[in-house]
């Protein structure tokens, strides 16, 4: 059974299509990167797979069922948590919430749950912050706590929106190592990112710019011409900074917002 399979899928908000005709299959143990600029539709697609947005049309199966059918098996980390900053929660309480999905309203959290919480926090290097109030943490620490929350779910499918944003180089390495461990254990991951390096490390990449520009193995997809259609420009790192090496002519349709 595929972790996710989509065909002829149109995603969008309130019936309005943002990206049409998406087709892909994600097998267990694989990582798919959704790459695009802001407003390109990657978050919309990720939310649709998570079950937060209904598909506009087309077919979508998540773990062999409709999205949201198995909440304990799917973890989702959104881009930001606007309301969470004033909450009286310790880092540990945030990560523990990941275990609610498996127990519903009444099931008691067991020693196994507490172990999953501790392990996820240890992996993301936030175990020593367990008792710290969420609002006393820096942006990067908070991001690591949110990642620990996603990992503590021990889900079969993990959906991450810009997970490496706010992370320093060390934490980014930790996060990538954890992804490799998870996929080695047969878990599947979809990552929305605009970091080409991150996408290059994934098994497959889908380039989005209000349409599917390209989809396939990362090495084949991340070509200069495909990146040009996705971002409207391609740069490379030279001594002293980023240099734009190519720019799409008269391009103006991939930076839109909704």
């Amino acid at each position: 059974m595929s972790a996710v399979s989509a065909s002829g899928l149109c995603v969008g908000y309130q019936g309005e299509t943002v990206v049409a005709d998406i087709g892909f299959t994600l097998e267990p143990g694989r990582v798919l990167a959704l790459v695009g600029s802001n407003g390109s539709g990657k978050t919309t697609l990720l939310k649709t797979v998570a079950g937060l947005l209904p598909p506009v049309s087309g077919a979508l199966e998540v773990l062999g069922a409709r999205p949201l059918a198995r909440p304990g098996k799917v973890a989702y980390m959104g881009q930001f948590h606007p309301s969470s900053f004033m909450l009286p929660l310790r880092a540990r309480d945030v990560v523990r919430m990941a275990r609610f999905a498996a127990h519903g309203l009444f099931g008691r959290l067991t020693a196994k749950d507490e172990r999953a919480v501790r392990e996820a926090m240890a992996v993301m290097g936030v175990l020593d912050l367990a008792e710290a109030p969420l609002n006393a943490l820096s942006g990067g620490q908070r991001q690591r706590v949110f990642l620990a929350q996603a990992f503590a779910r021990e889900a079969e499918l993990i959906l991450l929106d810009e997970p490496a944003a706010n992370l320093d180089a060390g934490a980014r390495d930790t996060y990538r190592r954890q992804l490799r461990q998870l996929t080695a254990a047969g878990r599947s991951v979809i990552v929305a990112t605009h970091d080409i390096d991150e996408a290059a490390a994934c098994d497959a990449t889908m380039l989005l710019a209000h349409r599917v520009v390209a989809y396939g193995p990362s090495a084949e997809v991340l070509t200069q011409s495909a990146l040009l259609s996705t971002f409207g420009m391609v740069g490379k790192y030279q001594e002293g900074g980023i240099v734009i090496v190519e720019r799409e002519h008269g391009h103006d349709d991939c930076g839109g917002s909704h």
Binding site: K47, A50, G51, L52, L68, P71, G72, V74, A75, Y76, G78, H81, S83, S84, M86, L87, P88, L89, R90, D93, V94, M97, F100, A101, G104, L105, F106, P133, N135, A136
Partner: protein, 282 residues
């Protein structure tokens, strides 16, 4: 001597003891529900619900029915009104809810003005009648407080997730709409059973002030609920005492005490920012 001042009013006057008991029950209900109102930023909806109760109570009084029945109907109408507005209106929901609540307030006053003892009734509804609480009303309040506590306990996980992020609630298998509706229902129930004690105008203060005070120093949601209930209870005691000794309106004295505690704690936090950083909730 000090004991005479602090305790005797309650031991010597049954009506004052009833008031204290009613106030404690209101404080517990408001501590639980107010915590979620504050954390989810539902203060304005809570206020609207509290005012929406007025026409219901007014109609019940004209018909000779118990005020609480009217209050319940008014609160339900308000929940549906708010739900309709949030879904349908292109206006900011603040504007629409604001209009709905002054509309309901005006309707309530208009209805009460048809009755004989206009001003007395209005004052009783708006500011409560904590010194006239009967034992039967205490029983109803106790039952309602138990219902609120039990439902909040059952829904604790979805409520917590809703505070954190409605998206996380959804992907965790707790539909946000359903639990938002439960939460509104519990706010309504709190308002309905509290209005006799502190009135429709002041119940909002009891819902908000103790929870906001607790938010200033709580590190955990459960601590916040317990602290809010405790602060509310203390406000009731202090307010009743002030009302007894200085002859001021009881409902107002209680709400004043609750608000004063909030501003004292807020100032303390400004004066001692280091302590605040360690235990801050905002």
């Amino acid at each position: 001597m000090i004991q005479d001042w602090l305790l005797t009013p309650f031991t010597a006057n049954a009506f004052l003891l009833n008031a204290l008991l009613a106030g404690v029950l209101v404080s517990i209900a408001c501590g639980i529900i107010g915590t979620f109102v504050v954390l989810r930023g539902l203060a304005f909806i809570g206020d609207a619900l509290a005012h929406g109760v007025l026409p219901g109570v007014a109609v019940a009084m004209l018909l000779g029915l118990p005020g609480m029945v009217g209050a319940a109907v008014g609160a339900l109408a308000m929940i549906f009104g708010i739900g309709f507005i949030t879904r349908r209106s292109n206006l900011s929901s603040d504007t629409a809810i604001g209009l709905l609540f002054v509309g309901m307030l005006a309707l309530g006053v208009a209805i009460v003005s048809r009755s004989q003892a206009f001003s007395g009734d209005l004052v009783r509804i708006l500011f409560g009648e904590i010194l006239g609480i009967r034992a039967s009303e205490l029983a109803i309040q106790l039952a309602a407080t138990l219902v609120i506590a039990i439902l909040a306990r059952i829904c604790y996980r979805p409520f917590l997730l809703l505070c954190f992020s409605p998206e996380q609630a959804e992907v965790s298998g707790f539909p946000p709409r359903r639990y938002h509706a439960v939460m509104l229902g519990l706010i309504a129930l709190t308002v309905v059973v509290s209005f006799r004690t502190v009135g429709t105008l002041l119940v909002f203060g009891m819902l908000l002030a103790p929870a906001a005070s607790a938010a200033l120093f709580s590190r955990k949601v459960t601590t916040m609920i317990l602290s809010a209930s405790g602060i509310g209870t203390f406000s009731v005691y202090a307010g009743l005492l002030a009302s007894y000794h200085f002859n001021i309106a009881a409902g107002a004295a209680i709400t004043l005490a609750a608000s004063a505690i909030f501003f004292i704690l807020l100032s303390a936090r400004q004066l001692f920012p280091r302590d605040a950083a360690r235990g801050a909730a905002r």
